[in-house]
Amino acid sequence: MTNILVTHADEPIGRRVVKNLYHDPDVEVIFALGSGPPPRKFDAYLAGNDPRVTYTRLDLAKHRPIRDLFHSAPFRTAEIDTVVYVPRHGAGASAAAVPLIGGLAERTAESRLLLQHCLETHTIRNLVAIGSAFVYRLPPGNANHLNEDSELNLDPNVMPEIRSWIDCDMIFHSEVHNDRLRVVLLRVPTVVAAGGYVYLHPSLAGRPGVRVRTLGFDPICALVSDKDVARAVRAATKTPVSGIFNIAGGEAVPLSMLARWTGHRSLPVPGPLLGMLDLGERVLGIESRLGAGGGAQLRYGFTLNTDRAAAELGFRSQYRIGLARAGDGALRLETASV
């Protein structure tokens, strides 16, 4: 039996992970952390005298709260042996994209503290972290196939949000060969949830609105369903391997089409103008996501090689992503099991 801690369980992907693990008979206790109140969907999980799911509000980016948690009686009683790090990705992450905590991006601070406490807590044997596939350096081209060994984007001018993903990636990567703690890092591309919600895309995440893309470019975006991400996390908790794995679904669509599917207006802007827009945003301190850094992700696309995940985690995508007519007659981006 496994006892699992899940971070940011109040956000969409975290909720999906908790739900998936809840229905796993091998999981005994789920210790869910979140920065907000518990989601309503957790009411059923939290009901009863001895629920399998415990929810705690916590700021993961600060040292004191997380230290108190790891030394608290409920945590020790739960005997957590697996930690699932779901990064912040919902509405809170999109506004003022990367707040700094002690000079570090929030996401970076979280992953650093979490890894530190996982290493110091002897009951914890497994750490599964969700990272972003936007950490790769994108070579020119509308669609590039990338595998886990592809080069990371270490350009100093990379947009801050992607920089924080890269920092997290490298923090977890540094402990992949740890003998005591098994570290699994899942690099996921744009995550699509039922209803057309998009997460972890540097320019499309957040509420529908106007988004720009570089004129003359329409990069291919790899997609994965949130349900597949939860399945991958579950597979990673069960398999005795460590390392970095790409997780992606079967679909890949151009950025303009994905923006249309998700209710955004995609506005093609000439590259030089986009650079000026991005510069203006930086100078004025605006984080509108309009310019989205003017980075390579608006010009060059990628798909992911998931062979390693298939081979070592046994993960294969099971959910198709596409437009479906909902009950109200509107076409929405949906995920469906195949």
Partner: protein, 419 residues
Amino acid sequence: MSEIEFPTPIPEIANPLTAPGRALGRDPFDDLAGPNPLEEQLDQLEARQADGSLAQRRVLKPTAKQAAIQEVTAKQPAIEKVTANPPVIGKAAARPTPATQSTTRQPVARPEDALPSRDNLARLSQRRWATTPPLAEIELPPAKGLADRLLNPNERRVLASLAHLVEGDAPYDRFGYSPEAMKTTFPFFHALYRLYFRVRSEGHEHILDEGPVVLAGNHGGLLPFDAAMAIIDVALHTDPPRLVRAIVDRWAGSLPWINIFYARVGQVVGTRENFAKLLDDGQLLLVFPEGIDGMRKTISHRYRLQNFRVGFIEHALRARTPIVPVAFIGSDDQSPILFDVKPLARRMGIPVAPITPTFPWLGPLGLLPYPVSYRIIYGEPLRYHERFGPEAADDSRLVRYLANQVRRTVQLLIDRNRK
């Protein structure tokens, strides 16, 4: 003072053209009448090798892999070396040869030896190559739209068959290929193929029906119409139709609109990961190993191949893929470059700043190709992978040597067919 003992040379490396095993691929010109332009050099080579002087200078220090090859070849009688089954090292032995793969119409499962030995990998072993259905199995939908009306039923069948490369009803494949975009652009390039360039071609039988193949050809002309003509030619002359995925330079991938167009018609930027993935999927690749150097040849160097890159050899060996040499005749005449103003090209960040009889005098129109007649000749496949196995991809000297062999073969194809 003891004499230095040189190791026994690998026959094919010391003397590639006369080696008994013909391991470097069958020379496509053996069956042709007429003098071999290399015969004279060959005689000199043999004469010098007989007295040992050249053998000692040219011998490569054998790696462990090459030593194993020597051992195997030494144990085999000479008659076996010219059979269709040359000695295969290591894992290569367990893999079916492309010749046997091409005889079956069913999608071929990937060999299990390439997979990690885990129980949960069973599904991986069922992976199939990207295939298209034969034309006879295509049910032609009713014609709709201008593109359908411009094409005859057979050509529409070809396009319908190529659409099967995209899984399910997805509009794009992983590399951005769009059957709809292909359908839209096909009539235009088909008209160029038939009427403007008047393409004649031969040797299509050397292109396997399925499985990975690398077409390696010469590159010429300012605009890559040679690749476009190869795409149309292969699609029209193979059944099941195969889509040529031309490997394009990274620079082209950074050009607005061009990058989208290339991707939608199935072309892919030449990164290692892309190349390996396409071969892994069993696709048909077209590479121009000369790279940009091929495009900027001046008129005095036309049809003289430049140095070949070696990456395609490494990937072909690793993926156990045959290499089909291709000669494009006409591409170097479509936009003859009188001068290449290299300082200007460097300053503008472009690969070539050409002066042609029409460019820049006629503006952008001067870049359009002249209506030259094209010939495309596909040579016999070079099956280096059967002889050397995937481990040979790590031997940089051997890889360079094999790249030069491909270059020589393409050059011979050009020289023979230009006359």
